[in-house]
C-alpha cells in the first residue's frame, strides 16, 4: 500500500487552475491521500451517471476514529463519492462505479458482496432529516429489529436508550418514545436519524450535509455530537459550510468538478492551501 500511496502523492506545483480550466483529464491530487490507520481505502474511483463522468479517479483514505470533511462547490461530486462508500448509488438507474473501495481490506464492489449488510456497517445520515413516520422508539429500534441484533425486549429497550443517549437526544424524548418521530423539531429529527444509524453499530458513518436544513443552535449541537462520535466511529462528512469542516474534521478533501483537488490536515488546508482552486474556494472567491 505504501508503494501505491507514494505513487499517487504527486508533486503539487505541476497542476494549476489553468490545467483544470482546459478541461483536460486531471488525476493529480495534491496532498497525502493516505492516513496511518485507514478504515476505508478508495483508489481511482470513477462514477458515471449515464454519459456524465461525475467522479474522476478519486483516491482517498478514511481513517479510523477520524472525521474526514469533503468540501467543494455544488455539483463537484462530493455527495456522489460519499454515496459510493455504502453503495447507495446502486439504487440510481444508469449509475456505474469503477475503481476500488475497500472496507477493512474487503472490496465492497465485489460481485459476491451483499450491499445490505454493508449498509449496516457503513451507516448514513442524510441531508434532510428523514425519520420514518413511526414512533421515536420504532425509528431507533428498526435497524436492530431487521438485523436481529437483540434477543429480548429488555435488550432492545437498552439499545434504544444507549443509541439515543449517544445521539444526545435521550433527555429530550425519554418521556415520549411512543410519539411519532416526525413530530420532533428539525434538529431533533436529525439527531434521531443519527441515533437510528448508530443503533446498528456501524463502523463508518457517512453524513451528507447533515446540518444544511438546521438552524445554528441545532447545528452546534450536531457538530458537538460528531466530535463525540469520533471516539467510536470513523466519519466522512460532506458539508457546504467551511466553518463546519474546520470545526469538526481532522482531514479535509476539496472536490472540484469531479476531481479530488486537494487533501490534507484540516488546519493545513484552511490556513495554507496548496492549490489555487482550494485557496479560491476557501477564501470565498467562488463556490
Amino acid at each position: 500500500m505504501n508503494a501505491l500511496a507514494s505513487e499517487i502523492v504527486r508533486d503539487t506545483s505541476a497542476v494549476s487552475a489553468a490545467d483544470l480550466a482546459k478541461g483536460g483529464h486531471f488525476s493529480g491530487t495534491i496532498g497525502d491521500i493516505t492516513t496511518p490507520d485507514p478504515r476505508m481505502v478508495c483508489r481511482e474511483v470513477n462514477v458515471w451517471y449515464g454519459d456524465k463522468h461525475a467522479i474522476k479517479d478519486v483516491s482517498l483514505d478514511i481513517g479510523n476514529h477520524q472525521v474526514v470533511a469533503m468540501i467543494g462547490p455544488s455539483g463537484c461530486g462530493k455527495s456522489t463519492f460519499l454515496r459510493c462508500l455504502n453503495r447507495m448509488n446502486d439504487t440510481i438507474d444508469g449509475c456505474r462505479v469503477r475503481g476500488s473501495i475497500t472496507l477493512d481490506g474487503r472490496e465492497i464492489y465485489d460481485k459476491g458482496l451483499d450491499p445490505v449488510p454493508l449498509r449496516a456497517q457503513v451507516g448514513m445520515v442524510f441531508q434532510k432529516p428523514n425519520p420514518f413516520p413511526k414512533s421515536i422508539f420504532e425509528n431507533v429500534a428498526y435497524g436492530a429489529r431487521i438485523h436481529g441484533l437483540t434477543n429480548s425486549k429488555a435488550e432492545l429497550d437498552a439499545l434504544v436508550e444507549t443509541s439515543l443517549r449517544k445521539a444526545g437526544l435521550w433527555n429530550e424524548v425519554k418521556d415520549r418514545l411512543d410519539q411519532p418521530g416526525t413530530g420532533l423539531s428539525g434538529g431533533q429529527q436529525q439527531r434521531l436519524c443519527i441515533a437510528r444509524t448508530i443503533a446498528v453499530s456501524p463502523e463508518v458513518i457517512l453524513m451528507d450535509e447533515p446540518c444544511s436544513a438546521l438552524d445554528p443552535i441545532a447545528t452546534a449541537i450536531i457538530e458537538e455530537l460528531i466530535d463525540e462520535l469520533r471516539e467510536h466511529y470513523s466519519i466522512a462528512i460532506v458539508t457546504h459550510s467551511m466553518q463546519q469542516a474546520a470545526r469538526v474534521s481532522q482531514r479535509t478533501a476539496y472536490f472540484h468538478l469531479g476531481d479530488l483537488v486537494e487533501v490534507g490536515e484540516t488546519t493545513q488546508v484552511f490556513t495554507n492551501p496548496r492549490h489555487k482552486l482550494t485557496e479560491d474556494y476557501i477564501t470565498g472567491r467562488f463556490g
Partner: protein, 441 residues
Amino acid sequence: MNNPAPGASAPPPAPAARRTIDIVNASLKRRYAREARFRFMGAAAVFLGLLFVGVLFGDIVAKGYTAFAQTYIQVPVYFDSATLDPDGSRDPQVLANADYLGLVKASLRTLFPQVTGRAQQRALYALISAGAPQQLQTMVRQYPSVLGTTRDVWLIAGADVDMLVKGQIDRELPEADRRIKDSTLTLVDQLKTEGRIEQRFNTGFFTNGTSREPELAGIAGALAGTFYTLALTLLLSFPIGVGAALYLQEFAPKNRWTDLIEVNINNLAAVPSIVFGLLGLAVFINVFGVPRSTPLVGALVLALMTLPTIIIASRAALQSVPPSIREAALGVGASPLQTQFHHVLPLALPGIMTGAIIGMARALGESAPLLMIGMIAFIVDIPQGITDSATVLPVQIYLWADSPERGFVERTSAAILVLLGFMVVMNLAAVLLRRRFERRW
C-alpha cells in the same frame, strides 16, 4: 382613465409612471369582467350538473320507492283436512304436494260467491299472486295445527291489483285501454271497503330471487351473485395489482420492455369492458372450462378489467412516497423488499386503496362483460357459492328494465336505488379508509 383607482391617486412621481398605471387601470375592468364571466360559467356548469343529478335521483326515487311496499289481501281460508291431508297422516310429503292453488281459488270463491262464469272467475283468481299457493304451503308445513280451521290469511296481491292500489293504473281511462277491467275494479273496491287490502313493507324484495311475476321478484339472488363476484374480484385483483405495481415501479429494470408494458397497461384501462367479456368467454370458458354463468368466471373477467386501474393507481401512490424514506430504510441496512413492505407500501396504502375501491366500484356497475359469459341467464335460485349459476345487480336491472310488465318498472328503479346505495357505501368506505391510514411524513 380619468378616474384612476384609489391606489393610483398617490402623488405621481413622473408622467411616464402615471401613464403606465392608467393603462393598467384601463385594462383592469376588462380583466375582471373576463374573470367574472369565467366564474359565472363555472358556477352555472356546477348548477346544471347538480340539476341533472337531482332530476335523475328524483325520477328514480319517485318511480322506485313504491317497490318497497307490497299489497296484501286478507282472505279467509278454510284449511280443509279432507283435501289437504286425506289420510290424516300429517305426512310432510303429502302436505307439501297438496293442491294449494285449488285452496286459494276455493277461498276466493267463498269470499265472492256472486262471481260466476269462467272469465269472471279467472279475473277473480288474478287478484291474488301466483305466489299465494306457496305462501299457504309454507304456512301449513310450519303450523300443521291450522288444518281443519278457517284462518284470515294475508295473501300477496296480484301485480295488477298492486299497481292499482299504488295508483299506477288510471281508473279514468276507458275500460278497453285499462289493464284492470270494471268487474275487477268492483271486487277491489269491495275488498277495500271491507278493510281487506293493506300495504306492508316488501321484505320479499330483499329475500326472493327473481321471478316472472313482478310481485314475487326480488334482488336476493342478484345481491348474492354480486357479493360473491365482487369479493372474489377483490381477492384476485388487489394482491396481483399491488404486486405488479410494486414490481414494475420499484424493482423492474427501466428499459424498452418495461416501457412497452407500461404503455399497454395504460391502454388496457381504456379497453371497452365487453372485450374483457369476449376474452373470458374464449379463454376461461372455452379453453379452461370454467363453468359459465358463475361468479367464478365473472370474477376472473372483472379482475382482469380492474387490474389496470389498480396497477396505475398503485404506481402513482408508490411514486408519491418520498425517496428519502427509501434511502432511510436502505441506509440502515434494510433489504429492498423490507424497505418496500415496511415503509413504502404502508405510506402508499391510502392511494392504493382509493384506486382499488374505484376499480371495484366500476366492477360493481359492470354488465357488458358479464353478458358475454352467461351471467344474464334467468336464475331464480339464490347462489350459494362461487360455482353456482348467478347474475349480478346491474344485469338484473337490465333484465327487469327489459320486462314489459308495469310492476317491473318500480322494481327496476328500486334495484337501481339499491345499487346506488352500495356505490355510496363503497365511496364512503374509501374516504374513511383514507382518513384512517393517512400518515404524514
